[in-house]
């Protein structure tokens, strides 16, 4: 009917944004004809007897197996020589608790830390901005009067319910004094739920877990120059 199939396939009935009524079925029905509404079987003969493709699949997995095993044995020779870390291994996964991937993105948002003043006191002034911004309501602060009048206000308690945290980074964004930061550390696991509440002292006991360059320390984000 003049439609250019292939050019605008599927939109033959669309003329100037108007949907025209579908043309009725133009073919003829004969008595007793069964109209197939499903796709015809499209398997080839080789596929239907299974065997060639079963063997092909087995060959593929066997190839992977053998390749990985050879890689493992090569790794084993390195390991025996005490150079296990240098060789390629036959698996893309790692022995998780013993090994941890060092290649997290430097902008990955993980465990929180509280930054410190020179005397190891928290830089936090207990302004509750993070607690206010927190969409998971997982930050709980109790403010107190600091003995130093220049500091005036400081957190007596600073608890983060790390199991509630969604790692959105809003606390970091909201902080006016750069006191809270999210490090790249994601290994936040424990057997007790009570221990998933990180208190002020724990948040202050951070130390760099991954330092790629000299100036990078936990929570530093690469800046666009």
């Amino acid at each position: 009917m003049g439609t250019q199939r292939g050019k605008n396939k599927g939109f033959e009935n669309l003329v100037d944004g108007q949907v025209l009524p579908q043309p009725a079925y133009q073919g003829e029905f004969t008595e007793g004809e069964i109209v197939q509404y499903y796709n015809p079987e499209s398997m080839t003969w080789a596929e239907r007897i299974y065997l060639p493709y079963v063997l092909a699949g087995l060959g593929l997995t066997a190839k992977v197996f053998l390749r990985n095993m050879v890689t493992w044995f090569v790794w084993l020779t390195y390991w025996v020589r005490g150079k296990g870390a240098e060789a390629k291994r036959g698996a893309t996964t790692i022995y998780y608790p013993h090994e941890m991937r060092p290649d997290f993105s430097p902008v990955n948002r993980g465990k929180h830390i509280l930054t410190m003043r020179d005397n190891d006191d928290p830089q936090c002034v207990a302004c509750y901005m993070c607690a206010t911004a927190c969409p998971a309501f997982c930050i709980h602060i109790v403010a107190g009067e600091h003995p130093d009048p220049a500091i005036e206000k400081y957190p007596v308690r600073f608890d983060i319910e790390i199991d509630k945290c969604i790692f959105c980074g809003y606390c970091e964004e909201a902080c006016p004094v750069d006191a809270i930061r999210l490090t790249t550390d994601v290994h936040l696991v424990d057997y007790k739920r009570e221990r998933m509440v990180y208190d002020r002292e724990y948040l202050l006991t951070w130390k760099p877990t991954y330092v790629e360059e000299e100036h990078v320390y936990p929570g530093d984000r690469p800046r666009k120059s």
């Binding site: 065997l51 699949g57 087995l58 593929l60 066997a62 992977v64 990985n68 095993m69």
Partner: protein, 412 residues
């Protein structure tokens, strides 16, 4: 009393049970680890035996690194199953419920009785050689006095109905699934039992049909004779193994055996996506463990059957020269001699070579079955039935007729 025969029987039995039961445990680890390697993973690695390491400043630190690539997982599994609560649901038929797991294990173990795993050997000569090497001359004299130069078969039962025994005993495996499913008084279990019954009976039909071609060619069902005959050579180089006589039947026979074992891709009776755990849904602790153990031992038994029937049992390809040890195995009427490539070697080397050959092939087929289990997707139930009755059974019937005609024409 034939003490020599008794001692040989005990030796054979210890060897077979040692191999089978250990394989049953190790294969659970192999299954996990091989699946992991095939999927670029590391696999089971958490079970460890704590090693105390004394620290410099006093005190002891317990190392958790002694995992041996996760090999302890099999032991941990066994210990767990033994120590778990053996809970019997109140609604089951207790007697049948309790005996059903044994129907799974016993036939599997008994099937191996007729599989020849080392051919003929002379324990007197072999042992006196070994004792002579270590200098225990009195022991050499003692074994020579006991065995003399008698020849025994490395096979538990040298039955002349060997292959029929395999089918007869293997068929009783159905009882375990059917009885367990029925006695559990659980819909899932019953459905699993029904599926396993129909699947196993269906596949047993052409499992027998498929192997009949070989039987026609060899003219015997005695497993020992079949194994011996495979030591012959065609055209001077091609071993006369079942796989070269009836290669197509190898696939059908293996498919039937795997269906008998109810493992992926034929795991209809268990079908954890549909039937929880199929016929052993209601089983716990070591009773469930027996079903699992039977499954893994059966892998080894299937591998043994395939080796014995299609891959020359204990023969080593290439070592066929006249007078060679392995040629001699196929022709017992000839004078025995321990020659490899024309060189005479101690009898113990020949025995170890044969048994090693058999074990290597057996382990390969264990590996191959696990490869299949981690490669192929599950069949649908109707697909299994269609494959069995409509394709494999006619194929094996046609093969039987053609083989018979060819054997008649060539004259055996």
């Amino acid at each position: 009393m034939d003490w020599a025969f008794l001692v040989v029987a005990i030796m054979n039995l210890s060897f077979v049970l040692g191999v089978l039961l250990n394989l049953g445990g190790v294969l659970t680890w192999v299954e996990r680890k091989q699946g992991a390697v095939m999927a670029n993973r590391i696999g089971a690695n958490r079970a460890y035996i704590p090693i105390p390491i004394p620290q410099k400043g006093g005190g002891v630190k317990w190392s958790k690194r002694f995992t041996v690539m996760g090999l302890w997982h099999g032991i941990a599994d066994g210990a767990k199953m033994i120590m778990k609560e053996d809970y019997t649901p109140p609604f089951v038929d207790k007697y049948i419920y309790n005996i059903a797991p044994w129907f799974a294990v016993v036939p599997v173990l008994v099937t191996f009785a007729v599989i020849p795993f080392g051919g003929p050997f002379q324990p007197g000569i072999m042992l006196s050689d070994v004792f002579g090497l270590v200098g225990a001359d009195f022991a050499s004299e003692w074994v020579m006095a006991l065995f003399g130069e008698r020849t025994f078969q490395m096979q538990l039962a040298d039955l002349n109905v060997g292959l029929l025994f395999v089918f007869a005993v293997g068929s009783t495996g159905i009882f375990s699934a059917a009885l367990a499913g029925w006695a559990s008084n659980n819909k899932y279990s019953l459905l699993g039992a029904l599926r396993s019954s129909s699947q196993m009976i269906s596949y047993e039909v052409f499992m027998g049909m498929a192997i009949l071609g070989l039987v026609v060619i060899y003219g015997t069902v005695d497993m020992n004779l079949i194994a011996q005959m495979q030591g012959d050579v065609w055209f001077g180089f091609l071993p006369k193994w079942g796989i070269f006589l009836q290669p197509h039947m190898f696939f059908i026979f293996m498919a039937a055996l795997m269906a008998e074992n109810k493992r992926v891709p034929f795991d209809m009776p268990e079908a954890e996506s549909e039937l929880v755990a199929g016929y052993f849904t209601e089983y716990s602790a070591m009773k469930m463990g027996l079903f699992m153990m039977a499954e893994f031992i059966e892998i080894a038994v299937i591998a043994g059957l395939l080796t014995a029937l299609f891959f020359g049992a204990y023969h080593v390809p290439g070592v066929h020269g006249a007078g060679d040890a392995f040629y001699w195995a196929a022709h017992p009427e000839l004078t025995p001699g321990n020659y490899v490539f024309g060189m005479e070697v101690p009898h113990v080397v020949v025995v170890v070579g044969r048994v090693g050959s058999f074990l290597a092939k057996l382990l390969f087929f264990c590996w191959f079955q696990i490869l299949i289990r981690w490669t192929l997707p599950k069949f649908r139930y109707d697909q299994i039935m269609r494959l069995g009755w409509k394709i494999l059974l006619p194929l094996s019937l046609v093969n039987l007729v053609l083989t018979a005609v060819v054997v008649l024409l060539i004259g055996g």
